[in-house]
């Protein structure tokens, strides 16, 4: 099931053919503000957020709220996240799509709940610097790509993105355990859509 999903996704990226472009008539510069929805990505099954593009669309920054229902995740978890994505390279035109084939960024998230602590210093049960990490705050790093539908009629406002990301805890574990852990063990896929606000 997962493999076939992947195949379809790769196909989607490749079947459009390369190197053709459509005239830019009807192009309307989008607003820098957007709303987004994301599937997975370590902040819930689904998250929704709002953000802004800056530096000539080379950086996007958004705030989102994620929810993981108990029926899927074994426990209901609410998370908020601040995420910045860099789009450093010019997009490649594939017919009427603009493909940013390299994006990368980082996210800081906060998980709600009494079982998580942002900083153990707030909790009287721990002496100073007991654990030296936070269980509520988590850094997540990722790389991926984004496809803009700016030149597709009726879909001008939309972009879709994909990324593989990992919590910082996994990255540290990987660096310290290169034999057992590998990139395939620590990175997971996330998918999302953005809609420009006008």
């Amino acid at each position: 099931m997962k493999r076939s999903l992947l195949f379809a996704f790769a196909l989607l990226l490749s079947v459009e053919g390369f190197g053709q472009s459509l005239p830019d008539s009807g192009y309307v510069a989008p607003s820098p503000y957007y709303v987004k929805a994301q599937f997975a990505g370590d902040i819930g099954l689904l998250s929704v957020g709002i953000g802004r593009e800056s530096f000539n669309r080379k950086l996007t920054t958004d705030v989102s709220v994620g929810y993981l229902p108990e029926s899927v995740g074994g426990d209901a978890i609410f998370t908020v996240a601040l995420k910045s994505t860099m789009l450093p390279l010019k997009p490649v035109r594939i017919k009427s799509l603009d493909w940013y084939y390299l994006t990368a960024g980082a996210q800081v998230s906060y998980t709600f709940g009494d079982e998580y602590f942002a900083w153990e210093g707030y909790l009287s049960k721990y002496p100073n610097s007991y654990y030296r990490f936070s269980t509520a705050l988590s850094v997540y790093v990722f790389a991926g790509g984004q496809v803009d539908f700016m030149r597709v009629p009726k879909l001008q406002k939309f972009s879709a993105y994909y990324e593989v990301g990992a919590p910082g805890e996994y990255v540290i574990s990987y660096i310290q355990n290169p034999k057992y852990l590998g990139l395939g063990k620590i990175f997971h896929l996330a998918l999302g859509v953005k809609m420009a606000l006008r």
Binding site: L6, G74, P167
Partner: protein
């Protein structure tokens, strides 16, 4: 543009190499069927084994973030013969995250024998407690194996705020009192933090020791947590407290138990 045909298969490969395609949250509790109720599964396996007069155990712990060392531990442990079971002294994980427990289990299931665990303080972080219950089972449990009873006890008092409830000494005392039909002669108590550690509830330190002494059946109390070795008869000298180093310390204990006696050997890997 020439890079494009290369990039697509590259991305495809990258994605398909992810073993679990999506992760919703590091504290999600999503387990495969063979990752659930492991204590019950392993107790079931043990009930089908026939114990000899001398029991042979491997005791290790504090795998935390030391996966490569844990792989080496399993290789070394598997060179031993006729082990009855392996004991993990807790701190299976470092951050209490599900994936950490899964990785450690993935490594530990290559052992030739069943392994039993006791919960460590790190295993209680975040969703760890809830996860431990689903993946392993109860925090306090026991097993009678041949002539010996093994009592697994949560002693992570600090994580309970030192409220005088952890460890549960009433439960322990009841466990160390044999029912009329029971045939075991001696007991070994196994927990993460030793009573003389600052993470053990101070008000229960001596009562813990006295519970063992009063039962007149416990010669040995096994612990981890301290990331170092320690073997000492504490307090009035009635019980030997033996602390095994961490996986990072690259050591484990080879324990033999017979009726009325035992031997401990520190093994490096």
């Amino acid at each position: 543009m020439k890079r494009l045909p290369l990039l697509v298969p590259f991305l495809f490969l990258l994605f398909s190499s992810c073993e679990n395609l999506f992760e919703y949250h590091p504290h999600q509790i999503i387990l495969e069927d063979d990752e659930k109720d492991l204590t019950a599964v392993n107790l079931q396996k043990l009930s089908s084994q026939s114990p000899n007069d001398t029991l042979k155990l491997i005791v290790m712990g504090d795998t935390q973030r030391f996966y490569d060392a844990t792989v080496d531990f399993v290789h070394k442990a598997n060179t031993f013969q006729d082990i009855d079971f392996v004991v993990h002294l807790g701190d299976i994980s470092d951050f209490g995250m599900t994936q950490e427990f899964k990785w450690v289990h993935d490594i530990m299931q290559d052992l030739k024998w069943p392994y039993l665990t006791v919960i460590g303080n790190h295993d209680m972080l975040g969703n760890g407690r809830k996860l431990y219950r689903r993946m392993y089972g109860e925090l306090n449990y026991s097993l009678v194996y041949g002539h010996t009873k093994f009592v697994f006890l949560d002693t992570n008092g600090r994580e309970d705020g030192f409220q005088g409830r952890v460890p549960d000494l009433d439960w322990l005392s009841a466990q160390l009192t044999p029912a009329p039909a029971e045939t075991w002669q001696q007991a070994v108590v196994i927990s993460h933090a030793p009573p003389f550690d600052s993470d053990f509830d101070k008000q229960l330190e001596l009562p813990y020791h006295q519970t063992l002494v009063k039962s007149q059946r416990v010669p040995l109390s096994l612990h981890g947590h301290r990331h170092g070795w320690d073997t000492e008869k504490k307090y009035d000298g009635e019980v030997l407290y033996h602390v095994t180093t961490s996986a990072k310390g690259r050591g484990f204990t080879y324990l033999k138990i017979w009726q009325g006696g035992y031997s401990l050997e520190r093994v490096s890997f």
